[in-house]
């Protein structure tokens, strides 16, 4: 009797491992792919040169968890495009809605960015935008969290990114091309990495940065690895995709 109970308990633990390290990836990858497709469709419809640009974003979301991407409806402005990337969208999107796509061509990742960093959001295989941080392309810090392992593991290979590698953030207006600067191993309590000036809370930002904060080491939540990237340039949608992502 006791033996049978123990064997059963062991089998359940193995079953849990199978769920955690395989099934959550399957479910989250599928959900994230659906959201990527929905975002790309809404971006195409909202493109400045599209006749549908004035219409509200269609709800192409495949499930209830995907809110309408309100945050992607920033009106395109015709600010100077070469030296100044222009302001990002300034209105905070509702929690759980998708606001951008992040391309990591070096490690072959393409993930949606949803508003919020609750586990309920991150477990969908997406990157989560820290609501207190800035929006893509804005002067300041566009900070996102994401799983390093399990639930789609969007940032599994973050350690392979090297200085200069492109990080492309796509919104309805176009592509913000960031370049990897450095990674730092930090403690989970070191919130200064998501400050407007990364690492220096309270300072006024003059540059546009991005930071990603997955777990470190893999399969542990002991530390975080913060990957910092600096905005290099903005490519408006009318100019087509930048070469970094095969445009």
């Amino acid at each position: 009797m006791l033996g049978e109970l123990l064997v059963t308990a062991g089998a359940l633990v193995l079953l849990f491992a199978l769920w955690q390290f395989w099934w959550t990836d399957v479910v989250a990858d599928a959900a994230a792919d659906d959201r990527v497709a929905a975002l790309q469709e809404s971006f195409a419809l909202e493109a400045p040169d599209s006749p549908d640009a004035d219409l509200a974003a269609p709800s192409t979301a495949p499930d209830d968890a995907t809110a309408e991407p309100e945050g992607t409806q920033g009106t395109p402005d015709s600010a100077d495009r070469d030296s100044d990337p222009g302001p990002g969208e300034s209105q905070a999107p509702p929690s759980g809605s998708d606001l951008a796509l992040v391309h990591l061509p070096t490690i072959g990742e393409l993930r949606p960015v949803s508003q919020g960093v609750d586990l309920a959001i991150l477990n969908l295989g997406v990157l989560g935008h820290y609501p207190s941080s800035d929006l893509p392309g804005e002067v300041g810090n566009f900070a996102v969290a994401g799983h390093r392992t399990t639930y789609g593991a969007p940032l599994w290979a973050i350690g392979e990114l090297r200085t200069g590698d492109p990080v492309v953030v796509e919104t309805a207006r176009g592509w913000f091309v960031y370049a990897m600067d450095r990674t730092e191993i930090i403690l989970p309590s070191q919130t200064e990495v998501i400050a407007p000036v990364p690492g220096e809370p309270g300072e006024d930002p003059t540059e546009a940065w991005m930071v990603m904060t997955p777990c470190h080491p893999k399969f542990s939540a002991e530390q975080r690895i913060a990957a910092f990237a600096r905005l290099e340039r903005f490519v408006p949608r009318t100019d087509g995709a930048p070469t970094e992502i095969g445009g």
């Binding site: 009797m1 059963t8 769920w19 309590s189 399969f219």
Partner: protein, 53 residues
């Protein structure tokens, strides 16, 4: 435990085996859909954001 379960199940061996498989499938589905998602946040392997302690 399992011997008792085997005795409780009705029918010939083939039917009993099928019922056992069905029961096992139910256990897996219940675990995957409800039990594991509930206990996973309690494990220290999944917490990718930074926050004030």
């Amino acid at each position: 435990m399992y011997a008792a379960l085997w005795r409780v199940l009705p029918g010939p061996v083939a039917v009993r085996l099928a019922l056992l498989l069905l029961l096992a499938a139910v256990v897996v589905v219940v675990c995957f859909a409800w039990v594991f998602p509930t206990i996973a946040p309690l494990l220290p392997i999944n917490d990718p954001d930074v926050q004030a302690p």
